[in-house]
């Protein structure tokens, strides 16, 4: 494809994407304004927009956002540090990889959010249970990616480094780490995303505060328009965080 043709293709696909979003919004508007869908079930988009402006202007969202982000930061710090450390240690032995990789992958496939009631019993309704759940769920993609990154470095790189006299630390710093880094970064990004999703999710199920809590609270108060505004806000935050970690990952890969 010529550069010009591929550029035209890109612009065209953007137009179609925008048209799709615009179409959904138009349907949403028509459903509420013309076709008589109940405002309690589906609020008018214009009202949602007004509510969103009010939420942002009043700064009402700040305490909830702070709680959710703190939970996320602590959970991700726990899971990334423990996941990378444990993953590295496991990857040092082919035997340990053989034993634990399928085991961890198996546990990863369990929907751990089902254990939320247990987490609440252990850690209470406050942020501690969200942190514990988020850390547990995001631990698995991190540890699995770390094992995959360090455990399957091409042998020839290690042999070549050893033949040139690399010490243990040099081998780690200049061969194993750069070889494993792209895979580990992908695992960290996935861990971050699942931590965010599980924390927001568990806040909607059983919590005292946080964005998820606020959304459920508004739903129960039948303030659907404001609830939609908060959902839009949470989606924007999630998209922003996703964008940032993807950027960091891309930089790390270089």
């Amino acid at each position: 494809m010529t550069p010009r043709a591929s550029r035209r293709d890109r612009i065209l696909s953007r137009i179609v994407q925008l048209a799709f979003v615009g179409g959904v919004l138009a349907l949403w508007y028509l459903a509420t304004a013309r076709w008589g869908v109940s405002h309690l079930l589906l609020p008018n988009p214009v009202r949602v927009w007004d509510q969103l402006k009010d939420v942002l202007a009043s700064g009402e969202f700040v305490p909830d956002l702070r709680i959710t982000l703190t939970e996320l930061a602590v959970a991700f710090a726990i899971s990334s540090i423990s996941g990378v450390t444990l993953g590295y240690l496991l990857s040092r032995s082919q035997f340990l990889i053989r034993v634990f990789e399928p085991l961890l992958a198996g546990i990863y496939s369990i929907p751990i959010i089902l254990f939320l009631p247990l987490y609440v019993l252990f850690f209470g309704l406050g942020p501690a249970s969200k942190i514990a759940l988020g850390a547990t769920i995001s631990f698995f993609p991190v540890v699995l990616a770390t094992v995959a990154g360090f455990g399957y470095v091409e042998r020839i790189y290690v042999v070549a480094a050893r033949s040139m006299g690399a010490s243990g630390f040099q081998l780690f710093r200049w061969v194993l780490l750069p070889a494993a880094l792209p895979v580990i970064l992908t695992g960290l990004r996935m861990g971050f995303i699942v931590a965010l999703l599980s924390i927001l999710g568990s806040e909607t199920i059983a919590s005292l505060a946080g964005l998820g809590h606020r959304i459920v609270h508004l739903a129960e108060a039948m303030e659907t328009a404001r609830m939609f505004a908060y959902i839009a806000f949470a989606v924007a935050i999630a998209a922003l965080l996703n964008f940032v970690v993807t950027l960091i990952e891309a930089r790390g890969r270089r």
Partner: protein
Amino acid sequence: MASQDVAVRIRDVSHQFGEEGQAHYVRALADTSLDVARGELLCLIGPSGCGKSTLLNVIGGLMTPTAGTVHVGGTPVRGPLPREIAFVFQENALFPWSTVSENVVLGMMFQGVPRAERAERARNALAAVGLADFADHYPGQLSGGMRQRAALARALSLQTGILLMDEPFGALDEQTRMILGEDLSVLLSRTEKTIVFVTHSLGEAVFLADRVAVFSARPGTIKEVISVDEPHPRNPEFVTSEKFHALRNRLYTLLHDEIRKTVSAERGRDNAAAGEGAR
């Protein structure tokens, strides 16, 4: 050969993978003895699986043989000897996450070259192989031939007395291989290096080597050593000379029977496997 003229002394080296009776048990090398003279280029040639790469790894201390000893400069080899021996592997041994010059510098860092010397030596080594303009490229941006030049530069920058090359041009096409061989011959004629070069190619062996050691089929051992009496650097005309053809034909005759043996052994194994599969 007087002992001070011997760079590498190989005595009764045997190597096997796995234990007898295991599925992956292979006797790769059997009672191999050989002296590599200081400053010579010795080619190892033989049917695939005859243990020539194994022998190279044993010389370089990357593998401990099941039996026998290797001495380099009079001392027994017990592990890698980065100050005495540099390797050029078949392919893809450059670190893909580092540029060409970073690759060369890393090698020197591993070997323990003082930081101040590294950049200069890397430049010289890259210039010697004709890659001065590609120092900042990543290996993935280079052709296979250029990658092998870079790998050679990394090995040369280490300034070792011995260079072990494991089919360094094995993955390249015939033309690239020919040019690299000619350049290598010129390059090496300027150094005093001792080189052991594993190859599949009869022409490459005759063109480059001072001596060619021909291996028997597995378990490999040296069947005959042939001298190529021709000064370095070798001209391209050497390839068309009567002498070249006579030597190449001699190698062909020596190898042909061994390759036949290897092939029929493999076919026997395949048939046995097929038979098991049918049951």
